[in-house]
């Protein structure tokens, strides 16, 4: 029995190793992508890249939280076999740079042997590059820019004789008018899930004159302006939002919009393609997109480099990895992403491409032009412990939604401030 047992064990371990493909072949790249519309564009093209270069590319994709989790744990335990990865400069940038997990790309970009002139790095706007620059060096290639917009149902607006709201008062009025739960239409939706909600709430916060962090002072989400913003957001979603909004992140919001159950949705600008895709959306022909409405203190919605792509410093084939990075962020793919999916890419020249101009949604292009000079370059508190800070601030949002904005928002906001300040202090950032 004993010997039999040992043989069994051995057999299975050997089988397992073989099946697991534990031994890497030569010239293999491991690439981690986020579940993002851009991934849907890139992934089918990779087979072609493999054919052209002879490099095997293993792609994995995760939702954004899982991705951060995988990246952080792998890098921190120095067990990473990853070569190229999608990254959120605002979420992880500070931390990853501080820990030396990004490969410094500046030497590569300056080297004309590694970066052909046709790549044209100057194509990225200075503001986008600054978001991925640490101590004068570039660590990430900006991929997608996002700003908050208002998606709305053109058919419902037309029937109710409404124009897209220009400010918060009109927004509420429109939501109220279109709110018709008996017929399965809710006035407005926006994220209500704890941590996820914070980024989309940020534009509301800014338009009420609030902010997340003040230099040298720490968190300021308990100012009267911020509390007004929390109350407004909570009341709006409680009164005119679909039930269950406190469990909704972008995926659920998108699903209810596609199903035709909401009249308006405020979220990042990258979802238009999926909303207008007739195979996924029941309301594909009736989607409009407008500028984020202004608040009592003007209009400055966020406009950020939401995703970038980077090479891991722990990568064992950095040159191959960099080649892949150049290809994945090339102008051709950017054009394709804009044409096929309506993704708002960070390269400026693609916006002037004739193919893009013909196909790209003019309404969305209009918001891009308008948001340029007024947008805020961040949509979350900029710090290393972003995840935990988002959860703390998100709790205030949830409370406000649950109580229709009538709960002890000020008290909850104070607690969030304490928590965020504690995190800042622990990281030596306050």
């Amino acid at each position: 029995m004993k010997r039999k047992g040992q043989v069994f064990v051995l057999c299975f371990l050997v089988l397992a190793i073989l099946a697991g493909g534990g031994f890497a072949q030569q010239k293999t790249l491991r690439v981690l992508l986020a579940n993002h519309p851009y991934m849907e564009v890139l992934r089918p093209l990779i087979a072609e890249y493999e054919k052209q270069t002879g490099t095997k590319v293993n792609v994995e994709s995760y939702d954004e939280n899982q991705l951060t989790q995988k990246l952080t744990t792998e890098f921190a335990t120095r067990s990473s076999t990853m070569d190229v990865f999608m990254t959120r400069p605002l979420q992880e940038g500070k931390l990853f740079f501080k820990n030396g997990w990004y490969e410094n790309l500046s030497p590569y970009l300056k080297d004309s042997k590694k970066t052909p002139a046709s790549y044209n790095f100057a194509d990225y706007a200075a503001s986008a590059v600054s978001a991925v620059t640490h101590k004068n060096d570039v660590y990430t290639i900006p991929l997608v820019t996002e700003w908050e917009v208002l998606y709305y149902r053109t058919d419902l607006f037309k029937k109710a004789n409404l124009a897209p709201p220009k400010n918060f008062d009109e927004l509420i009025a429109a939501a109220k008018k279109l709110h018709d739960p008996k017929n399965g239409v809710y006035g407005i939706v926006s994220r209500g899930q704890r941590g996820a909600a914070v980024t989309q709430f940020s534009s509301y916060l800014y338009n009420y004159g609030g902010d997340f962090i003040q230099e040298g002072k720490g968190a300021v989400v308990d100012t009267p302006q911020a509390i007004e913003a929390f109350k407004f957001y909570g009341r709006m979603l409680a009164e005119y939002g679909p039930p269950g909004v406190t469990n909704m992140s972008w995926a659920q919001c998108m699903a209810v919009f596609q199903a035709g159950n909401v009249a308006m949705w405020t979220d990042a600008s990258v979802f238009l393609g999926n909303l207008k895709d007739p195979s996924k959306s029941k309301v594909a022909d009736n989607v409009g997109v407008a500028m984020f409405p202004a608040g009592p203190k003007g209009n400055s919605p966020y406009s950020v480099v939401s995703w970038g792509m980077a090479v891991s410093r722990q990568s064992k084939n950095k040159d191959e990895a960099y080649k892949f990075l150049l290809w994945a962020t090339s102008r051709e793919i950017a054009v394709k992403a804009m044409v096929d999916k309506g993704i708002t890419m960070a390269r400026t020249s693609v916006w002037k491409d004739p193919g893009v101009q013909k196909k790209f949604d003019p309404q969305l292009a209009d918001t891009a032009i308008k948001v340029g000079p007024i947008g805020k370059p961040y949509d979350r508190p900029l710090m290393t412990a972003v995840g935990e800070a988002r959860d703390a601030i998100g709790e205030v949002i949830v409370l406000s939604i649950e109580t229709k904005g009538t709960g002890d928002i000020a008290g909850a906001a104070k607690k969030a401030v304490q928590k965020v300040n504690e995190l800042l202090k622990n990281a030596g950032e306050l």
Partner: protein, 292 residues
């Protein structure tokens, strides 16, 4: 290979040895490691190694309201779930405790929730609870009742999760009680019937005392599993809305794999482990009594 006479003589050590070694490497060592981490502050994401801080991390965790809220919630979930399951399971077992055509078939059906993958079950219930398109609210509305927000409301999220747990685990309680009832010896019943006791008296004075040990063990075992519930909560709410369904398990997971604060996570795990260990002692005591 080992000399067979040597094996024969030392069989009481050699036979359990591989299993115990495995447990030592895969369980005891990790637990000790976690325990040692609990005296440090270590934020993996900071890129710095763990720093020894004595009991500081314990104090920080004990001062953290989120920890206590999670603790209370875990007990609330456990008591509510196991309480309902025990009562329901007993009623079901009493109903089914007789011979009838199709009994085995019913037992099979009772097994289904137990063996179904919790993740899949959780997802199905998410759709069931969906406030707009879900069946739960449709049923409430057609009965003329107010629709609820189920797992999307801080007040109803725990009872809603408990309902899933009840659905999944009441059959387990039923099967345990049924097996217990079947193992009872018939003599006391016969003599009671001779004495002219009625059905209720028989149940209360004979059945109950005999099945109490079985019920108790069942309850304790179930409590431990309910206490550790993870898959269902993670897939259905991930601790939300807000933190309203964040149990100790979920909190520990968030601390370790979302915030990467391993020192703090280790402290929470220490308390979790302590609670489960005391439950285990309880099971062992009950078992001992069973053996005696």
């Amino acid at each position: 290979m080992l000399d067979s006479r040597f094996v024969d003589r030392h069989i009481r050590i050699l036979f359990p040895l591989p299993a115990l070694l495995f447990i030592a490497i895969m369980m005891v060592f990790p637990i000790l490691y976690t325990f040692s981490l609990s005296f440090t502050t270590w934020n993996l994401a900071s890129g710095m190694p763990p720093r020894f801080v004595g009991l500081n991390t314990y104090i920080e965790v004990l001062k953290e309201p989120r920890f206590w809220a999670a603790m209370g919630r875990t007990f609330y979930f456990t008591f509510l779930a196991v309480g309902c399951e025990t009562i329901l399971g007993m009623i079901w077992a009493l109903i089914l405790n007789r011979e009838f055509f199709g009994k085995e078939g019913i037992k099979l059906l009772l097994l289904l929730p137990l063996v179904s993958t919790p993740v899949a079950i959780g997802i199905a219930w998410v759709l069931f609870y969906e406030p707009t398109i879900g069946l739960a609210n449709w049923a409430l509305k057609s009965l003329g009742l107010m629709p609820l927000k189920w797992i999307a409301d801080q007040n109803t999220v725990i009872p809603s999760l408990v309902l899933v747990d009840i659905w999944q685990w009441t059959p387990m309680m039923t099967l345990i009680f049924l097996a217990g009832l079947a193992s009872l010896s018939p003599e006391p019943y016969e003599s009671a019937r001779v004495d002219g006791a009625n059905g209720w008296q028989i149940f209360w004075h004979i059945t109950v005392p005999m099945v109490v040990p079985i019920i108790l063990t069942g309850i304790v075992l179930r409590s431990i599993d309910a206490f550790k519930t993870y898959d269902i909560i993670y897939t259905m709410t991930n601790g939300g809305p807000g933190f309203a369904s964040e149990t100790l398990n979920i909190y520990a997971y968030n601390l370790s794999f979302n915030y990467f604060r391993f020192g703090h996570a280790a402290v929470v795990l220490f308390f979790l482990f302590l609670i489960v260990l005391s439950f285990s002692f309880l099971v062992n005591r009950l078992k001992d009594r069973g053996h005696g």
